[in-house]
């Protein structure tokens, strides 16, 4: 379990992390979401013991990161932002170094390296200098060193940043495939990632946690949650349909696009779609598409971090 209490970090005048507290239990995959410079990386650097907090405490399974640093760090696997690695080394010698630091003897090291090589599919580049590797392979080497000691806590700072869609998919699969008794913390500014891998999402803005919930709850905060989109076949129908939809009690508003009507519900109780479906049937409207939205994370993200359009309840 990880317990963070009143964590604060000040760089001169700048308050990078401002009184953050949270707990994470095994099995949770927590996503730190936030604009660049919000304090995600700084928080992770304090969790892993790279930066000393100005105030507050971090406890990793009962080990304080400041007073019992080594015991805490032994339980953590960490991928720093940008995947730093000793470029002149080969993945094999690099992983061997990490495994040795992690306390494995020679035969165990060979075993551990074989294990992570398999998971990360590094076999083909194992004896090539890291500086010659592609971004995707470098990232995989970074992930391999983070999981080589089968850590209880995995801290990954923007693990999929700059990867192509296939590589992103692989990394997410890897994270999801980790056993259920681990704690994973990832930071990202990619919204789709949150829904794809996280069981919990904390939105950080200006050094504060402004929202801490499940990805689903986050979607529900969207004013587009349970909104219904109608795509028409004939453009002339748009105004007529919009007028009729506006008359319904369950409709709050209707937004018109070129071919689409987006109907925002009055209440998020699931009553909108059946009502619209009924209407479509009664009036015998010809539609190309009719579907319900889950909610738009980008809109929620913007409204929470910028104080933009009000978040519907």
């Amino acid at each position: 379990m990880i317990e963070v209490t009143h964590l604060q970090k000040r760089f001169g005048q700048l308050l990078a992390v401002d009184d953050i507290s949270f707990k994470i239990v095994p099995g949770e995959i927590l996503g730190f979401l936030g604009p660049n410079g919000a304090g995600k990386s700084t928080t992770m650097k304090m969790l892993t013991g790279f930066l000393a907090p100005t105030m507050g405490k971090v406890s990793i399974w009962g080990c304080d990161i400041e007073t019992d640093k080594l015991s805490a760090q032994k339980q953590i696997g960490y991928l720093p932002e940008g995947t730093p690695a000793y470029e002149e080394m080969t993945p094999r010698s690099f992983l061997d170094f990490i495994a040795e630091v992690r306390g494995y003897n020679k035969s165990e090291r060979v075993e551990r390296i074989a294990f992570v090589t398999e998971i990360m599919a590094l076999e083909s580049v194992l004896d090539q200098r890291i500086e010659t590797l592609s971004k995707g392979f470098k990232r995989r080497v970074g992930l391999a060193q983070a999981i080589i000691h089968d850590p209880k806590v995995l801290v990954l700072d923007e693990p999929t940043d700059g990867l192509d869609p296939n590589q992103k998919y692989q990394v997410r699969e890897m994270i999801r495939g980790l056993s259920k008794d681990k704690i994973v913390i990832i930071s990202t500014h990619i919204l789709e990632e949150i829904a794809a891998v996280c069981t919990r999402v904390a939105i950080i803005s200006n050094g504060k946690i402004v929202s801490d919930c499940t990805p689903r709850e986050l979607e529900e905060k969207s004013r587009y949650h349970q909104a219904v989109t109608l795509k028409v076949k004939v453009q002339e129908d748009l105004s007529k349909f919009a007028g009729r939809l506006n008359d319904l009690d369950v409709v709050r508003s209707v937004e018109k696009n070129e071919w689409e009507l987006l109907v925002i519900p009055e209440h998020k109780d699931g009553s909108l779609l059946p009502a619209i479906a009924n209407l479509v049937k009664e009036e015998d409207w010809q539609l190309a598409e009719l579907f319900q939205e889950k909610g738009r994370l980008d809109e929620v993200f913007r409204s929470i971090t910028e104080g933009g359009p009000h978040v519907g309840s």
Partner: protein, 244 residues
């Protein structure tokens, strides 16, 4: 302290993974030859000893040691690997000592590769090999002092150029503190005890006796305390950087 060995091995191998090691050793050997034979009048002296060779070492180290030490921390900071290294279960002491020892052993190897000079004097005459051995040891100890200063300079900055210059300047001060010209300038108006203190802090003062083959406990203690002091300062610098 197991970590020292791990860090040391990795660091040492990294010197030889890049051309740095070979370039450094080549230049070190060429320059020590030039200094010994041209500036040191090795043949003209008609003496079978290596004094001309060793007496130039402080000056040789002045610009070669910063070239080795500048990358110790600056490179880690620049490439971000310092974040990886400092979040591994290693104490700061293990990392600092491991890195320092790697650099020190590396300069030791460069020093050992000057052995043809030793063969030459033994071929030309009958030198006191005890003196030569003591001088080698003393020179290596002095290199350690220079490297420890370099370690601290490198911890201060992300830029290797700044680390190089900073280390060079501090080392120069520690050499000059024992230079007769500098000491004479102080002699007239500064109490003798202060002049002695300044002189006793100098690499030159301690190395002069060493290069003549006199390796006294005082000199050994001096070089070791230089190393300990500057490595400790490195730790303080790293600690401050971690807090900010």
């Amino acid at each position: 302290m197991l970590g020292v060995n791990t860090v040391l091995k990795r660091e040492f191998a990294s010197y030889f993974a890049t051309p740095i090691a070979y370039v450094f050793i080549f230049i070190f050997l060429v320059l020590s030859g030039v200094f010994t034979f041209y500036l040191g009048n090795f043949y003209e002296r008609q003496q079978a000893d290596l004094t001309p060779f060793f007496s130039f070492h402080p000056w040789l180290y002045l610009f070669l040691v910063p070239a080795v030490s500048m990358r110790l921390w600056s490179e880690e900071r620049k490439s971000g690997t310092i974040e990886l290294l400092m979040t591994l279960p290693l104490t700061k002491l293990e990392v600092i000592v491991g890195k320092f020892l790697a650099a020190w052993f590396f300069t030791g190897i460069a020093l050992l590769l000057t052995f043809p000079l030793w063969i030459t004097v033994n071929y030309l005459g009958e030198p006191d090999n005890g003196v030569i051995l003591a001088s080698y040891l003393g020179s290596w100890l002095m290199a350690g002092g220079f490297l420890a200063i370099g370690s601290c300079a490198s911890a201060l900055s992300k830029s290797q150029v700044i680390a190089f210059i900073l280390c060079g300047v501090v080392c120069l001060l520690f050499i000059l503190a024992g230079f007769p010209l500098v000491l004479n300038a102080f002699n007239d108006w500064v109490p003798a005890i202060l002049v002695d203190t300044i002189a006793s802090l100098s690499f030159l003062t301690h190395f002069t006796s060493v290069s003549k083959g006199v390796l006294s406990l005082r000199d050994i203690l001096y070089f070791f305390s230089m190393i300990v002091f500057w490595l400790f300062t490195t730790a303080v610098v790293l600690e401050l950087k971690q807090a900010n």
